[in-house]
Symmetry: none
Amino acid sequence: MPESPGFAHAAWLMADPARAMMLMALTDGRARPAGELARAAGITPQTASVHLARLHAGGLLAMETQGRHRYYRMAGDHVAQAVEQLAAIRPLPQPARTVVGRKGRLLRHCRTCYDHLAGRVGVLVTRALVYQGFLVAVADKRFEVSRSGATWFSALGIDVDTLRPTRRGIARQCLDSTEREHHLAGPLGRRLLESLCDRGWLRRSREPRVIQVTPAGRQALKRYLGVDPERAASPHGQ
Amino acid sequence: MPESPGFAHAAWLMADPARAMMLMALTDGRARPAGELARAAGITPQTASVHLARLHAGGLLAMETQGRHRYYRMAGDHVAQAVEQLAAIRPLPQPARTVVGRKGRLLRHCRTCYDHLAGRVGVLVTRALVYQGFLVAVADKRFEVSRSGATWFSALGIDVDTLRPTRRGIARQCLDSTEREHHLAGPLGRRLLESLCDRGWLRRSREPRVIQVTPAGRQALKRYLGVDPERAASPHGQ
DNA sequence: TCGATGCTTCGTCCCGCGGCGAACCATCAC
DNA sequence: GTGATGGTTCGCCGCGGGACGAAGCATCGA
């Protein structure tokens, strides 16, 4: 009668295709009503209701009632991070490589991960910030912001000192599921994405999670960070 | 016909109790033969064989054949990270929620964990020690004490060099059950708690496990570590 | 060569869980 | 009030997959 480890339950909740689809639809951090999630998962409302109740009881989703609607959202970024971490586990590559469509390429290139920047652009930006000494990777999957980093961020209108740190600090290392390298997450990551969008350097696409780099953004990334995502080589060479 | 997201498969592999037990047995990073894992999971060898093959194909485990034995180990650090991340997701404790009274709050705030400091204060102190570079989180759930750290501890009358290391070293990372973050354990953790009590900065309460921070202690924590536990944001405040 | 050991494959049983239709409950509009 | 809409609960069905016994395959020791 070996008791199953605690993580098995959370894993079980994520394992079902319908539940996984709903979690996927919530990766942007926004809250959605149950019906919309049912449609996103391709199941009937009553089935979705059971799933959502389980995800809620399991601590994966937070729920808020508004009138006759029930809005669900991720219970926290630790859940989103678990999803990302799981997505980084890839089955042994069988002979054929999967065909990636246009949308897949766009997502790989630049997307949001919960509430911050991810994909190749997210990784390149983070890598540059570390390379320039603005961020320092420290223990416990965190980043530390250096003095020069604080100055750099303030040039973007981000006052690092006024950011409210969460339990896990102000800047976290989040494993990018497609690039298999860390990108910037946490309050600072969220604020950075916000700021880049405000400046018109990045633009949210109509497709969920897809982010576009504007021409002005491309110039700015090159100038301020020496990053040119269009020309960067793919990380996983083969 | 929505295709289920990629992470669902990895989650499914972790969701089964037997597979979870085997993964658990491999969290130390060492390789173990199939039979031993079967025993650890409490299942027959033939059942374990199927599970292990799936975990291997799914990219969670690496396999190595030696003679008639087959050794399995974690496929990489990213798998262990995913397990940890999932373990951090806890179902919301419905009944206990309302029962968390004064004593519960006190325990959450500051308590002993076996022989060392835990709770919010324990985590904040540890976080500060890492942030200041006195402790460095290294592999195998250990902390290393830096040069500056040794100096800092000696100012508290703790001679790091004379501490008798156990099998797992002198300073361990212990996952805090309420804060979901590591705090300092091991001989150094024990000694630190002892020292803070001796100086009158902390005081054991009459209730078991509860620790009180004295006014002098609050001042000292702020001065020496920049930590003010009374003002720190609530851990589970979203 | 022969038996012992470690692991896998095959065949079979059966429980758990996801799915939907129908009915029920709550809120909003009028 | 009535009807409409969003969400949940109930009941039943079907299937996927996890369990083990038995048999098969490979390697080691003598």
